[in-house]
Amino acid sequence: MKVKATLLLTIALFIACSTVDERNAMVVSENNDLAYRLRYTDISASLQAAKKAYSCSSGDPDGKAEALNNMAYVSYQQMRYDQTLHLLQHVYRFSRNQLELLCADVLSMKVMQRIGRGKSFFDARLRAQKRLSRILSEESTLTERQKHRLHYALTELHIVASTYYYYLGQDSAARSEIQEAAQYVNLETDTTQWLYYHYMMGSGGLIDGNPEEVTVTEFNHLFRVYTLAKANHFTYFEANALQSLSAMVADSVRASWVKQQRIDAYSYLYGEHLQWQKDSTLSLRYQFAAALSHHSIALFQQYRDLFQTACAMRTLGEVYFTAEHYDEALKSFRKALHLASDYRRSPYQVTPWLAGIHENLSLTYSALGDKLSADNHRNIYLDLLDESRQNKELDSRKALLKQEAKGERVQFFFLLSLVILVVVLSIIYYRQLKRRSLSFEKQVREIGSSDDYKQAKHQLQKLLQESEEHLEESREECEVMRQRILNEQKRHILQRTKLSVVYAIIPYLDRVIAEVKKLDEMGENVPKHLSYIQELCSGMMTINDRLTSWIQMQQGKLGLQVSRFPLNEVFSVISMQQHAFAQQQLTLEIPESDIWVKADKALTLFMVNTLVDNARKFTPAGGKVTILADSIDDYVEISVCDTGIGLPQEDVQVLNSSKVYDPNRIGTKNASKGFGFGIMNCKGIINSYKKLSSLFNVCDFGVESQEGKGSRFWFRLPKVLSLLFFIFTLFAHAMPQRCYEFFDSTYNANLLGRYADAWLYADSAIKLVEAPIDTSLLVSLYNEQAIAAQALGDWDAYRLSNAECVRLHRLFSTDRSLASDCQRLEKMNEDSHVLYVLIVLLLIASLALFYMIVLRHRLRHRASLDDLYQRLSSVLRSFPKNAETLADELQDISHNLDQPQLRQSVHELHHKFSSALDKLHGNSGFIEGFEEKAQKQRFEHDRLYVMNQILDNSLSTIKHETMYFPSRIKQIADDMQQNGIDPDTHRTLLDLVTYYRNIYMLLYEQAQRQTDQSVLRLQPVAVSDLITYASEVCNVETHSMKAYVKGDETLLHLLFDQLFSVVPEDSTISVEERENMTYIICNVLGQSLTPEQLSDLFSPQTERIEYLVIRQILREHDAACGHPGLRLVAENTKSGYKISFSLLTTHKPMNS
């Protein structure tokens, strides 16, 4: 009803006004005054008055502008910023009244401040200041009313600026602005501005001093505003004062100060607000604070200022939050946000305020334990913060521009002197140019003694030296590898020798079987045959003993090569089989693993390879083989899984529990092929780990399988402690890296909800960060720390971290739009600079003329010299990166030169480099060769090494598993000898020997499989070389020999080593050639051998194992030469005995 009535009244007035112009002007100014007075009392009445003034102002542009300004102010209060700006645009468009335009500028500033547009704020401010200076220069001509308006604009300008700085956290600027405002404020002439000023003073942050005094002063300001506003019905300020007071009361410390010093005012307020106290669950003080807020909200609602209502609501929320009534706080914050968010859709949001409310929400949610929402709001908070940043630099820039304007005259003279200076300098420059051209020429000619040249030469020398060293290293590595291969080769021969001893049992065993079979046909010959069986058993036992003692002798001598390595190294070798798998339509999946293990690398590779091979063998097309590495406790379980045909349960049983079995029978139920010795070898390797050290107790091997579904073969190796590596990597990196790692830890800890850890991590990281390091990292760290504190509910810590985060964020994020801002400011000064421009243009023209006529040629000549020099020195400087092309580049340069003198010097330079570079190139070729060779040798070594290791295992299995049989057989034979033969015992004996032979043969074959490939490298060996080798140890009778034999030099040396370790030192060596054989004879004087010794010398019953090694080497030669019949004989001679062996005579090698 009221609205309708006022509307009617307005229309009526409108009709009335339009009739008389004179009266209209009166009405306009009256209504404008009214609108102004009412703006803080009753906003809708103010709007009405303004509208009325507007409607009557058709002939009065100034009044119209003022009316528009008033309307704009109302819409500003109602948070309709788009409308405000629209109205202001209107003012700008038609009004020439500087005073009203100034008011419009000030209002623009207010809007921009609230919606957080820093740049637009400054634009408006700049405009306002310019206008102000113009108006002030004519201040005397202003009417009283206009003066009043000017004062309003002035106070408003400074207060807004102060507010702006206050929100930016630039307290000193805010303070100086408010002090400026203070001088224009007058209670009598303009009560509203007086209230505004005091409210600003009271609302905090603008007074310097000790906190207690400041609080009390602020309280005084606010109290004064409150009482005066209440008395005069300035609802807006009354509500604002109450809101600020509420915040003050909610703070226990500040409240207590106020209570102490202004108990009168405090209790007055308290008494006044008893009726507003609603929530009895709060403590008294909080009830009071809440009451103030409630009152404030009611007033703002009455006044219809949505934004301020929201602000008051937020204050209420903060009161609840402080009182730890989070649910209530949340409700209030959400209400506040809701109120403000009605204006969300508008492009003009109250960004800084929104940021604040989101922070409040984030904290409240986190207090309520809703981490997700808390994070969500915190992110919005940070985003909004980012939007509303501003730069502090602006002030100084503005000051600079002002200074510039003042110094115009000074500049003019300066410019004049500059012109003179330029002319003088040009002349000097020209002279110098001439001189420098000459010096450049000299420089080029003498490039051979330049620093660049010396540097390059030095680099070259260094490179050469390095390449020599590298060459030497590769050569040494090759030699080391060669030595290691030799060792493995020797070891392998020893293994083969042992294997031949193992084999020696087989004929005996076959004889025993044959004898046992025939026992029941023997009749009276039985005892004789039994005793033969007993003898054979003793023979076997002797051989077994030999073998045992030999194996034991070498145990622990050559252990496993245990090292620490990442599993990935092994896996990457295996992954080279992808192609082979793909060809069989199989997929091979290999994981990326960062696990390190402690084991024998070559053997680990062998095991994985064996298992993968097996899996491939038993997986049909379309299947998949997967390698897995699972880190469990202190070991790694490496498994090879397939989707193959699987194994029957009984086979799994056999594989998991039996030490010895026939591998060819495993898996044959489903497939036509057997398993081979691979699994047995793998188990053997795992056992030898276990024997080595207790560290390897975790080692194990196992099989899981389901018929038709697939199998999983796994083994375990000890894991290397990853913690050690973590620390190692931490220290290996530079400091900043550690900070980043701490940041990552913080971030992860926050993600995982380990907030206490996160806080600590962030704290350590912040301590590590030093000044030159990335500010953004620091901001992030503080942010993470704030999040952690927030989640922990430690509000003080939160506030500290957050404040630091926000401060740094502002400091860090510079506003890029500033550049354009400044450009625009400078452009404004341009008009006055036309004169300078003309002078400068003239100067440039004359300089251009000077350049065209004189300077150009000089410069060109100089430039070509300079270019040449630069090219040369850049070629030299970029050495050694351009080592490959340097010679060509220099040649190229010298070809393109037309001055012979210069060409000569470049040519010399070229010559100096090319020979050294050639050498370098040659070296790198050698290095490549050596490295390739080393690689090949490494492969060869690993092959031999694995073979030997497996042979070791096989031999020890043979030793363990079959040792007891001969004595058992002998025992039964003894028994038969005494008690006669009964069929049962005979059967038992036959079974026993047959079983013994089967298992023995099986194990022998497993071992023998490793010796399928010959390790001999046959080549023509000069007999003279062999003799020379032998002569280092013994006497040589033979004159120089020209013959060559077919053999492996390394093994022949080994043969000599073995020989000389069994014959006396004074033995002599001679050489004889017969038919196609070369006999090498070792004569031993002074002692002869018994017939027994002679016949057993090279048999497993021999006294010295060396003889067997010699025999083995000969045997290998026999097999590899393709010419059977090499001799190895021991005979007694007249003066002692001799050992002779023969090798196949051959031709001299082609290339020597």
Binding site: D510, R511, R1111, L1126
Partner: protein, 240 residues
């Protein structure tokens, strides 16, 4: 069987004893005129009296193959003399071939039933190639393999419908002929183009569908060898 003289060459005394026992109990007609443990001993014995049969071990003393050499020399000097190899080299097949080439009348492996009367009787009756069961088993296994391979070849021709031109084409591809060269062969009445067609056709016949992609001439030839369609040991080019 008449009485005959025998020399046993055996370096292991325990084994020698066993062999002697076998002869004494199973072949009473044999008169052991000497035993030797080494090469030198043996030739000394030979000078003293010539036996009808030499029972020879291959490895003596340090040398493992000296028996081959002894056998060769014996055969050259005494062409009528019976030489029976009695050896423990039960795995070394190469050596068996060597010693048979050198003139041995038979090989008895020191495993299974060892030496039996029947073996001696057969040798003394002038039979060559006298072998005991373990030896024959090994030979049989090899023989079976070869025969199976040949049968596989026949089967492959039927199964994959290989005609003589297919075989000739594959064989010449294996020998490195280009299709142009093969088209120029007298017995190959095809153009290069139709040979290309034939190659595609062969690929389709020899490979299951999912393996066909990317099969080139080399892969095709290897497949043909794997299926025993062409014999890598018998790759001969036809006349031009």
């Amino acid at each position: 069987m008449d009485k005959f003289k025998v020399i046993i060459v055996e370096d292991d005394k325990l084994e020698l004893k066993g062999t002697q026992q076998i002869l004494q109990t199973e072949v009473p007609e044999a008169e052991i005129i000497g035993t030797a443990t080494g090469e030198a001993d043996f030739w000394k014995l030979m000078r003293e009296g010539q036996p009808d049969l030499v029972l020879l071990d291959l490895g003596l003393g340090g040398s493992t193959t000296v028996g081959v050499d002894i056998c060769r020399q014996l055969r050259t000097r005494y062409s009528d003399m019976k030489i029976l190899i009695f050896t423990g080299e039960i795995l070394n097949e190469r050596l068996w071939v060597e010693v048979l080439t050198a003139g041995a009348d038979g090989i008895i492996l020191k495993t299974g039933n060892l030496l039996q009367r029947d073996d001696i009787v057969q040798v003394m009756h002038g039979r060559h190639l006298v072998f005991n069961e373990p030896f024959l088993e090994k030979v049989m296994a090899r023989f079976r393999k070869v025969v199976c391979k040949e049968q596989a070849s026949v089967d492959a021709f039927v199964e994959y419908e290989i005609d003589e031109y297919d075989e000739r084409f594959l064989r010449h591809l294996a020998l490195g002929y280009t299709k142009d060269m093969i088209a120029g062969l007298r017995q190959m009445p095809f153009s290069t183009k139709s040979l290309e067609k034939r190659q595609v056709d062969l690929t389709n016949r020899l490979f299951p569908e999912r393996e066909r992609s990317g099969v080139n001439a080399v892969r095709l030839v290897v497949r043909a060898i794997q299926l025993h369609i062409i014999d890598p040991d018998n790759l001969v080019a036809d006349e031009q």
